[in-house]
Symmetry: D2
């Protein structure tokens, strides 16, 4: 017995993200000295069969086709939501109503009002929440933030970011839930990551001027089907951004960037230096400083190592590299620390709500072609 | 004697670009089988001393403090203008009036009307013109254009470009002619290069939505001086772009990108592939194709070689690399070919005018924050 | 209940590699459909305290200060050895004598005779073995092997490899077990990885001509101590290699390569193409083919994705990247598959023995400065 | 008139290197403030036609099919030899006998005795010589040398270098003069560059242990011919190297490295830092330092700029990049400075002789498989 308090987890959804979360919990419990003894209690999916299949695979004790069962399970302390974002609000509010902490994938919910309701409920209940902005949970992003906050690169002047992939680039890919106009589009799906990044590293956003574009206006109704269905959500979204601290910037979200698998890139330019990162090489970051002899200046490529916490939890030696699922473990760790200490993760529901405000403003600006202030 | 017709050159301006042009002529005459025997006749600069100093250094026969002398010099066939862009129009029109072909640095002139007047004069006179969009004169940019034009990467959907340097990033750099609001700013100085690139590779631009930002609002009057002078031109400019062929895109120009020396970068995404380039590594280009076995797909890094004309003119073996001044030699070669054959360089005054229309629309959009159609 | 047969694991050693193995088992059981239900039974370490501390952290049920207890534990089917390599033989032979499958870190043992004894015992007992050549368990190394075996890059002509790190570059790092001449040196510690790589991708090695160098001839007896102790093992080892298939090559091992954290790099040149890889960027590999239009040729950078098994077990989407501990999970998976199916992992004890023969020949050649045939 | 003393050039050979030298002279005279007024007097080639064709193209005044005519031309001060290396000695000795300074391509001559004779003649005559080790004439290599000499990376411990190209990788490429056993092979042709690099940056070489390999044992007699001819020279050469200062190292030369066009790479590891360079990206160099906060350490990518002389002679702004022919111009500049000041270029005949001694020792070692001391 570890003597630690047990903390029970109930997972809703067993797809891409459901598995990543399960791995996050499992890895976190091995690499970190967690404040709790994690208990993967129950997993819910659409059918009993898929739930049961996931149960064994993902390491849970129980399975159910009714996610509401998790709410009343006394063993469960955390509800982990990895379903499409249209479903997040209902599930999160129910979880909160039952006194559960909530871990939820991004984007938090389709509308700002939805998010606000979720934040209010969680904060009123005094529960801890976490949103899956996993790319921020990189030891080197922590380093970037440390450099920025300490003034190492001076006053931040400009930001350029992109989150581009190509999973929708093939025009024969059929219509699917990602294209549902109530929640979908490259901006919501991918742009939310880069917005979270901007807020995390540069600070609050004051206003945006945006455009969205549909490059593949119709897609097959389903794989191999003859009929087509109109696409109403953006393939590409672009925005100019003004930060409250005076910095300016831009970002782009695209899911039709042929050849790109994880172009989550940013460049931050300050008065005394700059930082350049791409998620395509997540274990390295480039930092430039104006100090020192001019002939020696250049972007330093810093590789992740134990000197960049919490890399050392995964490996005591530098250069060995962490992967995507490890980012999820760090996300879990932060969440559990906040539960233990009564604090707030940096990417809790309130932060998810703030990101959603920017997303919403970006959508509005794309319709009006005017600068929209973040409320 | 080569038996070739002699062609005389008169150069105005002996600074950074004056020297680059002189080198361009000199190198071109060694590496290409030019249609003319070049004669570097005379060079004009602000003072007789600076002109004479440049004469010997740059390989010209004569020097003068009065650029108008070049106009009436019967030995001179080409007037080459490398002065600040506020002076281009007067000089170019005078040259044309005297029946000289004109080679002029970018941006062509501060206003669209200026450019239009210059184009009209040159075309009416049947003279050949060339504008110094040197980054397009890269054998690998020719390859990119060939790939795009042949459909190798399919229908072009999106473009993302930037031209960022840091020569104005230090706030103690004093006010100078580059900051003159009649012609200056990062957009005019650097953005013109990326606009020319977009037009060259993707095609005509339909409209833009832009913003410009001043991050260093005042600068010392002069080096070391106590007083400051307000900055009225953009440090950073950003624009969304719609192309006539339906592609969308964006570009940024910045001269405060700390650490960047030549970030003239672009990414072009098509339905069947993509092309990624940075001038920071001008002898390589990355190309992605969706064809072939999925497990073998990736961006190919293509190094410049003799199979990419006119690289072979500089070196018969691949991998040896060309440099910036060699791009100028290719620019000169294209200009002289057009003179010999009566054709038009791809970047003649008309193209400079088209670029200026986009620049102008970008400025207007930045003021109005509305989409502006290119006239 | 999964209905799968249970398989019990006993782990000896809880340091860097002990933890990595524990993570390997844990991650493997989540991402793969393993043929067994893994049971992390017991962990042994030098003291009861360290063993107990590791037990909870690494997810085992029991802990002991006596590794021999694992041998007689009826719940244990696999003995996993992560101790210094001087101890491997005794532990492995004891495990085999008790009918346990053995998973052992590299290098397998200090001498060829040791390794031969271990192989003979394991093969006679019909037990499955696995050695921790983790860098080979990369989906992209599987791809490289597939390309080579299918003739995609033609006949292999030359190989150049290195495994360089810098953890001993600081001359103030004190003497430690890694410097024990009975087993140590950069060649044994790091060279074994690159030898395994050569054998895996290019094939059996016929002969070597080598040298070893000591650049830091003495080190402090212990951290901060005044006295020094002579270093008798190599800081750098280099060898020329002839393969049985006629290819030639070279490798280097160094632990004083200042700035290098994981330079496990290789370049393989064939008659029709080539492959270039660095563990510094383990999720990408570069492949060149001589086919197609010459102007389009270049090294393709291929990013790991689901099309490169077993990447898809970790993440259904490309570009998300796997990390070092995930390589260990793949190693575990291969081991368990072999146990289930009665096959041999590619890196079993016999392969560890073959690698040791090359290591030994390299050491002998470094002493004699003559070509040494691999026995 | 510049008032400078005229210096006449006679060029022998008009192929790849003949052209590069002509460009070197021409570019040098434009970018540098040379101590002489260069006069490209006469060019010699095998036939009168080829000489005359080159004359006009390369900018010379006269042409001849008899190189000996240059010797007695009173206008000529420098004889520039760009013929195959079997011819160097005869030409250089003749030039020296006529009191001409000599600029000669590498490798200086096929044998050490040849080189010694050339050095003795030149030194006795008090004439200035220069050998075409052009890759050393890179502003960033000057920077590397400065860093090494100033102790910035500490005591040098190890070197790893390669010069690999693929121009002989295709087995259907016919026999040619490069394969002549009197002078040829990858070691002589390409290895000489990396040997010169080692000597320049790390220092004198004490001994080598080498091997050479022929991977394509026969080639067509001529293009498309049916018959084949045995290849007697190395396709790949490899050597271990001990430097006089105690550093160890290795180098490889290959002309069958499929896909490589200019892999002239080296890595230098010192006790306090390291330097990594590839000619594939000749305008950047990577430098690592152990100083400063560990979490900020990394390889700095330094781009060539005016702060790295003589880059500024080519371009006043950083980031614009120089190319191969510009390296030749720097080589010329160094040569002319030495003539003017009576000094020695760093790569004069004596240096060519020292390189040849290493080449020769490498060949002998490859035959004996023993360490060979450099005499």
């Amino acid at each position: 017995m570890s003597g630690k308090r047990r903390l029970g987890v109930g997972l809703i959804g067993t797809g891409f993200m459901g598995k990543a979360h399960a791995l996050g919990f499992t890895i976190a419990s091995r690499v970190f000295d967690l404040p709790f003894e994690l208990d993967l209690v129950s997993v819910a999916d659409v059918t009993a069969e898929s739930a049961e299949a996931a149960r064994a695979r993902l390491g849970f004790r129980k399975a159910t086709a009714d996610w509401r069962e998790l709410l009343t399970d006394p063993d469960i302390d955390i509800i982990d939501i990895t379903t499409p974002n249209l479903l997040h609000k209902e599930m999160a509010l129910a979880a909160i109503a039952h006194g559960k902490h909530v871990y939820c994938e991004k984007p938090l919910a389709p509308t700002v009002a939805d998010c606000a309701e979720m934040v209010a409920a969680a904060e009123k209940a005094g529960l801890v929440t976490q949103v899956g902005f996993n790319y921020l949970k990189n030891p080197l992003i922590f380093l970037a933030k440390e450099f920025i906050d300490s003034g190492e690169i001076g006053e931040i002047r400009s930001f350029r970011g992109v989150h581009a992939e190509d999973f929708m680039a093939d025009a024969t890919i059929p219509w699917a839930w990602r294209l549902d106009p109530r929640s979908g589009g490259a901006l919501a799906d991918l742009g939310s990551h880069i917005i979270a990044c901007m807020r995390h590293l540069v600070g609050p956003i004051k206003s945006v001027l945006a455009e969205t574009v549909i490059h593949i206006p119709e897609r097959p109704v389903s794989r191999g089907a003859a009929g087509t269905r109109a696409v109403e959500v953006d393939d590409v979204a672009r925005a100019f951004v003004r930060f409250e601290n005076g910095a300016s910037g831009s970002f782009e979200a695209s899911w039709i960037a042929t050849g790109r698998k994880m172009q989550h890139d940013f460049e931050i330019y300050g008065s005394k230096g700059s930082i350049v990162f791409t998620q395509e090489r997540l274990n390295e970051i480039k930092v430039y400083s104006t100090g020192g002899d001019i002939k020696s200046r250049g972007f330093r490529t810093i590789w992740a190592g134990p000197e960049h916490p919490p890399y050392g939890a995964f490996c005591v030696a530098p250069g060995h590299q962490i992967g995507f699922n490890d980012l999820k473990a760090i996300e879990v760790h932060e969440f559990l620390q906040a539960i233990a200490k009564g604090g707030r993760p940096t990417t809790d529901f309130r932060e998810g709500y703030e990101v959603q405000k920017v997303l919403s403003a970006t959508h509005r600006s794309a319709r009006s072609n005017e600068w929209v202030e973040i409320g």
